[in-house]
Symmetry: C2
Subunit: 105 residues, 2 copies
């Protein structure tokens, strides 16, 4: 997969995932991987960024299957940010698709 296409979109996919329900990092890596190839070294720094920007809050929870999990919960600011980003993506994607189709004629 083209690595460059992902730029910015990963953030949107992570936000959109966490909107639905609180999730922990490792779980997000697997969730996001269903849509685009991604590895841990990408997701963890991204989660830290979004938390620093107050789009996420975190809490720890014990697990019976390994070390404690750090859950990410979306904030009000995160919800707004996600809605905005999604709108921008839809508009962007449709512009690009429109251009490609136009040139195809």
């Amino acid at each position: 997969m083209n690595a460059q296409f992902k730029k910015g979109v990963l953030e949107l996919i992570v936000l959109k995932s966490v909107v639905n329900k609180d999730m922990y990092g490792y779980e997000l890596v697997e969730e996001v991987s269903k849509v685009v190839d991604v590895n841990e070294g990408t997701i963890y720094p991204l989660l830290k960024r979004l938390t620093n920007d107050h789009h996420f809050e975190t809490y720890l929870k014990e697990s019976t299957e390994g070390p404690p999990r750090k859950y990410y919960h979306i904030t009000a600011s995160g919800i707004l940010y996600e809605e905005n980003l999604e709108e921008e993506w839809v508009e962007f994607a449709s512009k690009v698709s429109g251009f490609l189709k136009e040139k195809k004629k």
Copy 2:
């Protein structure tokens, strides 16, 4: 506009433009700007990259409206590359859209 969405897509838009007809840099800046905001400092290095990678060939042509124009002509390799990239983009965009819709439920 989200700067990150553009990564990789600009290359596709530039390639797709030049597939149709030979174009010069300044003309491409204006053409591409119809789809996504972009500035000269982005396009010229991109054209140089694509030329170095043998996806474009160039030639100079005099102009009555300023300095000579450097025209870009797509090569066979460039055509293949463009087709590939376009295919990847379509697949990528549809995956992302699909994910967003699925989460919306």
